[in-house]
Amino acid sequence: MFNVIIVGVVSGAMLVLPLLLDGFERKVKAAIQTRIGPPVTQTLYDFLKLMDKEVKPFTGSTLATYMVLLTILLQISSLIALNYFIIAERNFQILFAGLALFLVAQASGAMTPLLVPNPFSQIGGYREVVVSLVNEFTMILSIGAISFILGGEAASPYTYMGLLSAMITLFITSYVSTGRPPFDIAEAEVELASGIFVEFSGPLLATYIYAMLTRRLLAKMIPLVIILQSLTSPGLITSLILVPLLVVTWLVYGVAATVVGRTRIDMAPVSLLKLYIPLMALSITGLLIGVYYA
């Protein structure tokens, strides 16, 4: 019971992380681009300012509004589930529930631009769906491979190689699902004129942006949780180790995003598959060899 309260408090505190860390990332990005950049609390200020504005209902499609709210709810539930897994008890069903909630949130997030009757956001939504198709599927595969290897007793070096390559794949899929360059093709492309962002305004826009940022938080949490659960025992201490690791990962992802360009929609799935297929093949081979030797 006590644990549940702690989980609630920690999740509530983590809700502000996406905004602060985004501001931090913008500062680092500005430093790499030799400029000063906005203050670290800028994203938080923007969020608060947008929430202050009058609520104009989005008449183009009320379904899109509901989708945004659904996405946020799913993400918060996923966050709570993951925190429960780290802090309260190592119940793998809760972990997989949290993962499932995250993936459904990805789907509803990709659905939102498609529901808006504006050619720019339609094109953006289409691109998002295509990338998700390749990326989320691989994420599921890699998590499956990892859990299989960790759950078994095989200890041959091939298994460790398989584990390593599955972990690398997991981190890459986590990077791609954050929607950073080179894969921010859904809204950042020039001809889209910001796609869906044009349609929302005021508090609804604030919610949508918050959903995008929480997506980034969860995408980084998942691989870290999977690593940490094999190294520590349940308790608040794991949370205290998790948050700095999150900050470091966010920073590394931010730096990586600054030094690359943006890919194009027809190149994106191809280049992703060229990366994932060899890595997953290596991982599954290691897995099978491990099973064979066991």
């Binding site: 990005k29 790499i32 681009q33 030799t34 400029r35 050619p119 720019f120 094109i123 289409y126 360059p181 080179p182 921010d184 093709i185 950042a188 492309e189 020039v190 001809e191 004129a193 910001s194 600054t258 030094v259 690359v260 360009g261 943006r262 890919t263 194009r264 929609i265 027809d266 190149m267």
Partner: protein, 555 residues
């Protein structure tokens, strides 16, 4: 000039075959023919003599001799001649034959002549190009009886985006967060593929040609010309000054020409660095954009150090320049150029190794050589499609005959080739500035006393960072009688239709940016102030815009 007599003889024979009069004045060949011979002569000039059609100029010469005139300007690049093919037209509703059957590149300038001076072109479909659709139909701004500050009342006409069944329309502009100037591209897309493009421009007409002919004196027009464009302003004012000096046969001091050439190259440096930054931004590589502009800042400081202003230098006058480059300034220039070269090389190295940049620039927006020749594209766009043309080498002006430089030519014709042409030109410019500084002669920088006789014609082509810029001046009393500017982007925009066809939508902004469009240069003709009434632009007009050339171009 003895070795050129055989070439001049060929032109004389050409003129005689059409009963036209011919006069050779320095490096300009003036041919005056009757209207019915124009199409044939233009065709022969384009096809047999391999001249490049630059622009056509319509002039209201009724105060001088009672006629309208239409002059087609060609340049013979391989021999270094300008050819002005002129015809006189009678009456208040003059008619002239169109030459677009022979020379497709003349499309836009003929329509501009029709809009602004009222010359009807026979043998082609006509449409409103430059004036808004609500403009009264028999008011012609560039005629001499139209006062420059008159404001006709315009009916606002509101328009809609063309919706078709087969494809969805993505409007890009006129107000678009990504564009720096207003332009309107209507991209018809099917899925991710662009199947058609409609363009409507000329939103920022400012009445520069009319202003230059009415309120300004010769020396004042220099400052007006500089403000035609924010990026390539100095070459406009140099081109104007050179055209007037050619018309009046002024002997400008050598030192002034050297200073002009140095500043022209400095301007080329800043323009290409700007473009590279923008190209990186459009592929999402913002860090490259920031670093490129950081490097460019040194060039801007150098410009201010040499001329007194970061842009719109204001040092050009008819007869020379106003500000000298002293000996004390030389070490700073050389030091800046050395640092620039090193940093630029390093950054281009890093940037082209970014896989997304490389893959998105290569093989996109391809312009094949035959289309490039037919459309008369200019500058890096032409040089990237295999056309070896550069006005600094073919029609030498200012001090360019004293320097040696390479002209980079690539044959692929894609966005990457256009980028590489500009990168190579930066290195060439740096070496040219060093050579010019070395060889600069001593002497005055300005002609103090000179006379400009009225009624003379001067044509000059200057190689701007975007291509060849043409200024045509007919001198008058104390101010130009007619001043025509044709900026390079004017010729490059029609090429977009070929480049954007069947390309993924994601490459559209990059392709549009790869011609380095300077829409301020393109639309600079007449006042369209309309008493503050707001109107949306005609996109149905755009339909007619593309009725031209679709039959001319190979699909």
């Amino acid at each position: 000039m003895l070795r050129n007599t055989s070439i001049i003889d060929k032109y004389v024979k050409l003129a005689e075959s059409a009963n036209a009069s011919i006069m050779v004045d320095g490096d300009t060949i003036h041919i005056v023919a009757k209207p019915e011979y124009i199409t044939g002569l233009a065709g022969k000039l384009f096809n047999e003599f391999k001249c490049v059609h630059r622009t056509c100029v319509a002039t209201d010469e009724r105060p001088l001799n009672g006629f309208f005139s239409l002059t087609h300007l060609f340049t013979d690049d391989s021999n270094g001649f300008y050819v002005a093919l002129k015809t006189y037209l009678e009456g208040d509703k003059p008619r002239a034959p169109s030459i677009i059957e022979q020379v497709p590149a003349a499309d836009w300038c003929e329509m501009e002549a029709r809009d602004l001076v009222g010359i009807e072109l026979e043998g082609r479909s006509a449409y409103r190009l430059v004036l808004p659709s609500g403009w009264p139909s028999d008011v012609y701004p560039l005629r001499k009886d139209f006062q420059y500050d008159k404001r006709p009342s315009i009916l606002p006409v509101s328009e809609k985006v063309t919706i078709t069944e087969e494809s969805s329309t993505v409007p890009v502009g006129p107000y678009h967060p990504a564009l720096h100037e207003p332009e309107y591209f209507e991209l018809h897309v099917e899925g991710e593929k662009v199947v058609d493009v409609k363009y409507r421009g000329f939103h920022v007409h400012r009445g520069i040609e009319k202003l230059g002919e009415s309120r300004m004196t010769y020396q004042q027009v220099n400052f007006l010309a500089e403000r035609i464009c924010g990026i390539c302003g100095f070459e406009h004012s140099t081109c104007y000054a050179l055209a007037v000096e050619k018309a009046a046969k002024l002997d400008v001091p050598e030192r002034a020409q050297f200073i002009r050439s140095i500043i022209l190259e400095v301007e080329r440096l800043h323009s290409h660095l700007l473009w590279l930054g923008v190209a990186f931004h459009l592929v999402g590589y913002d860090a490259g954009f920031m670093h490129m502009w950081r490097i460019r800042e040194k060039v801007m400081y150098l410009s201010e150090y040499l001329t007194g202003s970061r842009k719109t230098y204001g040092i050009n006058l008819v007869g020379g320049v106003r500000k000298d480059i002293n000996e004390e300034k030389k070490p700073k220039i050389l030091e800046t150029l050395d640092t620039l070269e090193k940093e630029f090389k390093e950054l281009v190295d890093i940037a082209t190794s970014v896989p997304q940049v490389k893959r998105r620039l290569t093989d996109t927006g391809v312009l094949p050589r035959e289309d490039a020749v037919k459309l008369g594209v200019e500058g890096p766009v032409a040089r990237a499609s295999g056309i070896d043309r550069d006005a600094r080498r073919d029609l030498p002006y200012a001090a360019y005959k004293h320097v040696s430089f390479k002209v980079p030519v690539y044959t692929e014709g894609d966005n990457m080739a256009r980028a590489l042409v500009r990168v190579d030109e930066v290195f060439e410019s740096i070496s040219m500035i060093k050579q010019l500084l070395d060889q600069m002669p001593k002497g005055p920088i300005r002609l103090e006393e000179f006379d400009i006789p009225p009624g003379k014609i001067g044509v000059q082509v200057v190689e701007a960072p975007r291509g060849g810029d043409v200024h045509f001046v007919i001198t008058g009393e104390g101010k130009p009688y007619r001043w025509r500017v044709r900026a390079p982007t004017y010729s490059n925009i029609p090429a977009l239709r070929v480049m954007l066809r069947d390309q993924p939508l994601a490459d559209a902004p990059l392709t549009i940016a790869s011609i380095d469009p300077c829409f301020s240069c393109t639309d600079r003709v007449v006042v369209i102030k309309e008493d503050g009434s707001v109107y949306k632009l005609s996109l149905v007009e755009g339909d007619k815009l593309w009725a031209r050339s679709s039959s001319q171009l190979s699909s």
